[in-house]
């Protein structure tokens, strides 16, 4: 019953029931209308025929008296399928006709009457028939009754009623069967989809919903859901990759820390040894915290949670401020740091985050350009610029370091990716991805370009705040335009 109950609750089945009811009601109305009109027509014909006969017979009576009338009535009565006739004397005795018995009083009411009767040849016990009769008074106290049997009409009623009953039964039966099959077909497909979604919810994201070839609404729904699943699978894949990387980058220093502690416990002799080991442990935990914070920040920036703190601020001032913060470091590292930013370049955004993103870029530039400058034996320049271009603010940091090969640029902004050459430089590997996340938060992008030689990293931000748009795919947005 459970499966059947499910079938009856389907939308397809309910719709079938509704249609069926409407159809049956319509059929009943149609048949009723047909029956009513047929009956009216039948009665009209009967009255007309009877009237004509009454007129003729009356004429005959007027011309030839009662004798002639009885003769004609007798001869007509004997014809097969004849009308009903009865002629009575003023005393009430039947003189001629084919009507045997009538209920009393019928002959006393002139005009039209619907009554029952028996034919003259039928016995007292036989069945009564129905008839429509007209009684007319003739001169001399004679009465003439002419009528027609109504059996035909009743048969018609019966036929119509039967037709109605049977066709309704057939319609309901066929409708239910049809509804059952349609519902079962739909239910099967929906069940298949449900089954698949359960598998997917169970964790197998590679499963896809079955899509038929009919291109109907269920197929469209299924293929849309499949597209959604593709997207979810891609996102989950990305997430998994990221968490694997996180696990790796957090586990590596944790392991190192643990080994150091263990080693200190095993080998240390003096207080100084212990102290040294503890200090190293603290250092490592600090760097872990730093990594962790950066990850949280990226997550929050990507989730768009920092949108609330956006204001309009002077980007040139922010660029100068970051430049000023890093200038002594650059100088110490044998570089010059210059900021070129015309006053009054305004941008709408989160000042703290944009400053941090810019700081990351400057920090990177110094880190990578410094060894090159040292090797060359002459200072190279790190250039920070802020300028407006159309609706966008371009904050860029150019250096004369080794740069990033074009093929690696889109990878460089991914979390924890540290290109081979950067392994020797300290850092969490999160700087560029944090910067890219900040750019996306503002509806902008991070471009990495060739500075020939070196790298030019540009934050492209909409000057009037993030415009409403769909989430740009991370990788697409950070793709560096090719520069040959």
């Amino acid at each position: 019953m459970g499966a059947l109950g499910k079938l009856f609750r389907t939308t397809a089945f309910k719709l079938t029931l509704v249609y069926l009811t409407v159809f049956v009601l319509f059929a009943v109305f149609l048949l009723g209308y047909f029956a009513f009109n047929t009956q009216r027509l039948f009665i009209e014909q009967v009255t007309e025929a009877v009237n004509v006969e009454v007129t003729r017979l009356t004429e005959q009576f007027n011309a030839g008296g009662i004798r002639r009338l009885t003769l004609i009535v007798e001869s007509r009565s004997r014809r097969p399928g004849s009308s009903l006739y009865l002629v009575t004397s003023p005393g009430g005795d039947g003189l001629a006709g084919n009507v045997g018995s009538l209920p009393t009083g019928v002959l006393d009411t002139p005009g039209w009457t619907e009554t029952v009767y028996r034919r003259i040849e039928e016995g007292e016990t036989s069945e009564l028939h129905r008839a429509l009769v007209r009684v007319s008074q003739l001169p001399g106290g004679f009465k003439l009754l002419v009528g027609r049997d109504l059996e035909e009409r009743d048969r018609l009623y019966k036929v119509v009623l039967d037709a109605g009953k049977w066709s309704a039964a057939a319609v309901i039966f066929l409708g239910l069967i049809g509804g059952f099959f349609v519902a079962r077909r739909v239910l099967r497909r929906v069940d298949a989809m449900t089954e698949t979604t359960r598998t997917i919810m169970g964790g197998d994201l590679s499963e896809r919903l079955p899509v038929g070839s009919s291109g109907d609404e269920l197929d469209r729904l299924a293929s849309n859901l499949n597209e959604m699943l593709d997207r979810i699978e891609a996102l989950m894949g990305g997430l998994k990759e990221v968490s694997d990387n996180i696990a790796h980058d957090l586990k590596t220093p944790l392991t190192r820390m643990r080994i150091r502690a263990e080693e200190a416990l095993r080998n240390s002799r003096s207080e100084a040894d212990y102290r040294a080991a503890l200090e190293t442990t603290l250092d490592e935990s600090d760097s872990l915290i730093r990594t962790f914070n950066a990850l949280l920040m990226i997550a929050r920036a990507e989730a768009g949670q920092a949108r609330g703190n956006m204001v309009e601020f002077d980007a040139a001032e922010a660029a100068h401020s970051i430049g000023e913060l890093y200038e002594p470091l650059a100088e110490e590292q044998g570089l010059t740091l210059e900021v070129v930013a015309p006053e009054g370049v305004k941008v709408y955004g989160n000042r703290e985050l944009i400053s941090q993103a810019l700081a990351n870029l400057v920090d990177n530039a110094i880190k990578y350009a410094a060894p090159v400058a040292k090797a060359d034996g002459k200072p190279s320049e790190v250039l920070v610029t802020a300028r407006a271009e159309g609706d966008h603010l371009l904050l860029s940091v150019s250096d004369r370091g080794p740069g990033i090969p074009e093929a690696d640029r889109s990878r460089a902004v991914e979390r924890f990716v540290r290109l081979e050459q950067s392994r020797s430089v300290p850092g969490s590997g999160l700087g560029l991805s944090l910067t890219a996340a900040v750019a996306h938060l503002h509806g902008g992008e991070l471009r990495l370009e060739d500075n020939a030689p070196g790298l030019r990293a540009t934050l492209v931000l909409p000057r009037f705040g993030p415009q409403p748009q769909t989430h740009p795919d991370r990788r697409e947005a950070v793709q560096a335009p090719g520069r040959q």
């Binding site: 920092a306 890093y326 002594p328 700081a359």
Partner: protein, 255 residues
Amino acid sequence: MSYLSASSQLAKSPVTGDALSDQMGQSETMRLLIIEDDRDAADYLVRAFRETGHVADHAADGEEGYAMALDGNYDVLIVDRMLPKRDGLSVIGELRDKKVETPVLILSALGQVDDRVKGLRAGGDDYLPKPYSFSELLARVEVLARRRGGRNEDTVYRVGDLELDRLSHRVTRGTEEILLQPREFRLLEYLMKHAGQVVTRTMLLENVWDYHFDPQTNVIDVHISRLRSKIDKGFSQPLLHTIRGAGYMVRDGAR
């Protein structure tokens, strides 16, 4: 100790016993109330503050903390943001409504800028995200306690023979005028305002540069060494000291 130099760029140096005693030697006794539900963390803080010569009480939930803060005469309240019975921000709000102006430092696992802003708006005076180092906490608490004393609003700061005039922006050491960049001036001003107290790198970044993020490289150190070369170079008595594992301090006299 080669590992130290290898890691000094990466992270702030850790607290050491020396550093703590350095910090301790300079400050007066403070009365502190720690409202924190994590028993271990609270015990550690109480012990550490006592070891550095301060008096610390502990309340384990918001209600108790509120009652104690209302009655007790504390110099600084250290309030965890998430507390049982009553959350930290509402405790602070209620205290401020009752005109209790004791400086409050908020400790919180929520370390983002907007959380910080929310905390300060609720009446907190400083905000320290977890996990924190004790030296950072101690430095900040000392600054808060000192501020309560209402000192250091003078127009001229003096440490030894170093003089900083906040109105004319002139800095002199002995008879010699020292020319500073605007930011160097603000750096020195902040250090001298808190003369005798440890000022951490994060505090400098927050108060002098108004940045609340963590620059990957320790840019502050380079600014300090530049400033040091301007005010200490050529003088026998150094005034700008590095407190290992904690930060910096401007202080007169030998250690």
